[in-house]
């Protein structure tokens, strides 16, 4: 078989229609008689609702209906959480429209249904809601003390405590022993600030209730999950709901959820019997879409004087916000298996406390648990290197898993199938010019230059390709991790591929076409990829966790394999040969040792005609396959950042950023490059720019892009990217996930670089984002607390 397509930097099939404005986002959809929704949201972070007077709103021109929590109390159920991380996990009821109490500013208290979006918006101000304000708890560490409760229905802010202990799990030694016998013990606390997944397309929903089957268009990553949750929550048979994700403008985990607004739009449409549309404003998106990160991480790392790590103890406070969203409770657990990272730690314990506050609820955000873990351990390795006076790369190398030790079972119980940390690091060093930059750093320190230079290192791996269903079961997740695909060879010889994953910018149509073109020997252009509509793609687990290629792509290949097997039967029949004598190359079956052959297209046409087929052969060249991965995928890499800190202003600049990522076999280098660039941008954004800030009363201060600083192209450096290729051994192509790698790796690289630049001036730590004012304040504080001038 040729491999003409795999590895080829194909331009994306998707781009022409996106670039030329022929896209169809949910908000572009207009149906006859469609009504418009606007939400009335609580201005208070915690309050009892004592009365909701909708009379003036109902009388407002164009208003068709107003729904309050009381109106829908019997039908709305609760926004579901499908990840009870412990058997005794506690969660408050989460009605889509608040009934008695609101627990964060932005929570929906009523919904206007009107003939125009303007009429709906005007009526929002006419709904008179009476609130009795309740005390708010905004700070995560304070919430853990239970002095103020985020919900009056709960007696504690603690939702669950989840523990992993390598001594108990049998995957390593007990942590106590390691800490007690530590020659060197490093203790640090890190703050993962709250971030907002600032996808470009705000969320939008259209529901058409006018036919037998209710249809919902929604800007989501997970149409299949939304469909199931709508059915389970609102008591509609699954077969009566069709969910379509049309063009979706980014998600980053922020659309890996099912939202109150989806339930509300469906309830409203069902009630008025007409199509309804809801499109959020950017302010609503920032305020009431789910947020990410938001953890306090307390770590203890024990090591020998030679720099061999002997144990790691992690205590997490994880901010759930006001409610448990679909999978928010499990996000920190996804990181729990990654704190040991690429290293051979003999002992490990993690305790995670999931805690409620009066903020927007949290959920997946690019990397989901793994960036937090990677940040913490990569910061700790630098801290240990400083403590021991050792080069941070040398320290890492002493502890990492060597190439010849794979497959390697880690202290967290995962089996890493492959990796070559030495090769990725060597290549990164070559691209970076490490020694020259270290020399320049020394010169700048000596001359007391106002601009100091730091080198930030991050050697990372991550677990992605979610996920083996048995593992998810062991983690109490409410579903499997398989993926589904169909491959159909049409009578013309063109191929239709149906995938269960749901793209929102990734380029699946292109990559899947490449996979199938190679597998079936058909031209790239002759492959059509269908997705994102539960009526077309009946089964799927959708897109998140860098799973599409390593799980969904493998399902496509498995389905294509089945088609080849089917076609072989027909080919043997048509050529009057034995199946064992056939070989399939470049889209043709040929009889070994002869010049006799028949193409897949000819077989497809013959199968369609069905005039001359083997007895009992089903006349189609269609196949279904469901692929359940046996293991996660473990991409890894080495990221090096040269960071300049202007000590006069505190400004941080990225002078050079080198990353060498190992994502196994690459299907499309252009798409991989794009994923790496975008991932880096979001990781750098956490290090330097973004933070969701609330005031003491519970109002989101960063409620627009004026204050929530998403960097744009001028704020980011040129990246020097490289790759090593260590194929995964657990899938047929040797591919690994790439969607989150850049985000996971880059944050600690930047912060390590900032600290490396100013540590000699007495600065010990700087909270993210490392804004100029924070860096300057840290420098000033170091001066007064006796840091070296």
């Amino acid at each position: 078989m040729t491999t003409a397509e795999i590895g080829r930097a194909r331009l994306r099939k998707e781009d022409a229609h996106l670039i030329t404005g022929r896209s169809r986002y949910t908000d572009n959809i207009t149906l006859p008689g469609m009504l418009h929704l606007a939400m009335v949201r609580s201005p208070f972070a915690h309050a009892k609702i004592t009365a909701v007077d909708v009379s003036a709103a109902k009388a407002s021109p164009g208003v068709v209906a107003v729904l309050t929590g009381a109106d829908v109390a019997d039908e709305q159920g609760n926004v579901p959480n499908v990840w009870p991380v412990t058997a005794d996990q506690k969660a408050p009821a989460f009605p889509s429209i608040a009934v008695d109490e609101v627990a964060f500013a932005g929570e929906v208290v009523a919904c206007i249904v009107a003939r125009s979006a303007a009429a709906a918006r005007d009526a929002v101000e006419l709904v008179d809601v009476s609130y009795d304000e309740l005390p708010v708890v905004m700070d995560l560490e304070e919430a853990f003390t239970d002095t103020v409760l985020a919900h009056s229905s709960l007696d504690s802010n603690l939702s669950a405590t989840w523990v992993f202990d390598s001594g108990e799990a049998g995957t390593g030694k007990p942590i106590r022993e390691a800490l007690d016998n530590a020659e060197v013990l490093i203790e640090r606390t890190f703050y993962q600030q709250r971030l907002i997944p600032a996808f470009m397309e705000p969320r939008s929903i259209v529901v058409d209730p006018t036919s037998e089957q209710i249809t919902m268009w929604t800007s989501t990553q997970v149409p299949h999950i939304v469909r199931l949750m709508l059915a389970l929550t609102l008591g509609i048979p699954e077969s009566k709901v069709r969910v379509i994700a049309p063009d979706v403008g980014g998600g980053f985990g922020g659309k890996l959820t099912v939202t109150p607004e989806e339930f509300i739009t469906l309830m409203a449409a069902r009630r008025v019997g007409k199509p309804c549309k809801y499109t959020e404003t950017r302010s609503e998106s920032l305020q009431a879409g789910h947020h990410g990160r938001a953890q306090v991480q307390r770590l203890k790392l024990s090591a020998t004087k030679e720099g061999i790590v002997t144990g790691l103890d992690v205590n997490l406070l994880a901010d759930m916000g006001a409610y448990l969203g679909l999978i928010g409770s499990g996000i920190p657990i996804l990181g729990a298996f990654m704190y040991n990272a690429i290293y051979k730690f003999p002992a490990y314990r993690l305790e995670c406390n999931n805690i409620f506050t009066n903020k927007a609820w949290t959920g997946a955000y690019r990397g989901a648990g793994r960036p937090e873990a990677t940040f913490a351990i990569e910061r700790m390795m630098d801290e240990l290197a400083v403590e021991l006076g050792m080069d941070p790369l040398e320290l890492r190398e002493k502890n990492w898993i060597k190439h010849d030790e794979f497959p390697f079972t880690t202290v967290a119980g995962l089996e890493y199938d492959s990796g070559n940390y030495e090769a990725a690091t060597a290549k990164a060093l070559e691209l970076f010019d490490y020694d020259a930059l270290r020399a320049e750093q020394a010169r700048r320190r000596e001359t007391n230059d106002t601009v100091q230079l730091g080198i930030g290192i991050s050697t990372f791996t991550e677990m992605c390709g979610l996920a083996p269903s048995r593992v998810l079961g062991a983690l109490s997740y409410g579903a499997g991790g398989w993926e589904h695909a169909q491959v159909r060879v049409l009578p013309s010889g063109n191929v239709e591929v149906v995938t269960g994953v749901s793209p929102h910018g990734q380029g699946h149509e292109t990559a899947w076409s490449q996979l199938v073109a190679d597998k079936l020997g058909v031209p790239f252009e002759n492959v059509e990829v269908l997705h994102g509509d539960t009526q077309v793609s009946q089964r799927g687990m959708d897109t998140y966790g860098s799973r599409s290629l390593v799980v969904g792509g493998m399902a496509v290949l498995a389905a294509a394999d089945k088609v080849i097997e089917k076609a072989k039967v027909v080919a043997a029949h048509l050529m009057e040969a034995s199946e064992e004598d056939l070989e399939f190359t470049d889209g043709k079956f040929s009889v070994k040792g002869t010049d006799q052959s028949t193409s897949l297209g000819e077989i497809a046409l013959a199968t369609f005609a069905a005039h001359n087929l083997p007895d009992g052969f089903e006349p189609n060249l269609d196949s279904d396959a469901t692929f359940d991965p046996q293991n996660f995928s473990y991409p890894h890499g080495t990221h090096l950042a040269a960071i300049e800190v202007d000590t006069e202003t505190g400004r941080v600049s990225i002078r050079k950023y080198v990353c060498v990522d190992d994502v196994g076999v690459v299907v499309n280098p252009l798409i991989v490059e794009g994923q790496v660039h975008g991932g880096l941008a979001q990781g750098i954004a956490q290090a330097l720019y973004e933070e969701a800030v609330y005031d003491e009363a519970g109002t989101l201060v960063t409620g627009s892009f004026v204050d929530y600083l998403v960097p744009s192209a001028p704020d980011l450096p040129h990246y020097t990217t490289g790759r090593t290729q260590t194929p995964s051994t657990t899938n047929q192509l040797g591919v690994k996930g790439v969607g989150e790698a850049g985000t996971i790796a880059s944050t600690p690289a930047i912060v390590n670089g900032v600290l490396d630049a100013v540590r000699h001036l007495g600065v010990k730590d700087i909270k993210m984002p490392c804004s100029p004012s924070r860096v300057w304040a840290a420098l000033e504080e170091a001066k007064t607390t006796g840091g070296v001038q």
Binding site: E125, T649, G650, Y689, L709, P711, P772
Partner: protein, 284 residues
Amino acid sequence: MIPSAFDYAAPATVAEALDLLAAAGDDVKLLAGGQSLIPVMKLRLADPAMVIDLGRIGELSGVRDDGDALLIGAMTPHHQVATDSLIATHLPLLAKAAATVADPQVRHRGTFGGALVHADPAGDLPAPVLAADATFILAGPAGERRVGAADFFQGYFTTAVADGEILTHIRVPKYTGWGAHYEKFTRVAQQWSIVAVAAMVRVEGGTIAEARIGLTNMASTPVRATAVEQALAGAPMTRDAIAAASVHAAEGTDPASDLNGDAAYRRHLAEVLTRRAVIAAAGL
């Protein structure tokens, strides 16, 4: 992002606009480039009953030579200010400051006069205009009125423009041959200034004969760094002398604290950025 309903008029002349303004009562807003007004209306932070659009009044746009000054129409877009050849020759400070406003889209829609009347303390045009001692020409029911820059900016988003008046032109004295620099400090490219410094210097031989310095976002209005200007007058054109003078940059300022930095940080930035701005303006 839908504003409240409002009435709209688009007059063709200043006289017509003044009549409409007089008839509209209190609850009226003048629309220039709309880069601030439209967003606040969409957020319903402003809901005027009437909006008078000045965009069709041709006489309000453009730059012309007016002897010892340039006369800049209030409706001249930032992009034109940033690229106009008269401004480049006689008022390079204005060109440099205008080029830092927001992004290209905003610079093509947003206007010089609109930004000045909006009087955002973090806006980039007020400080250069103050440093240049510009004169604001206002049209009103009783005729024309002129206000100096020192009296024009009165507080947060507040200017000397009275009800019923329209800013028509800004008359800015020429500073031909002066060195100029606008040093803007932001966290991301598309952001209002955390602090910025507008500096002009006239150099004679190896000496700074005269300096004019305006500070952005160091108080509720733009402020002149008078103490620095005095210290620089007659000072040698050296980095040390400029640094010594810049120590006074924050004197008399009253900066706010926000997510981008507290008042102490802003005072510190004022000093650093003043030094850098003057050094750049002097061509050192």
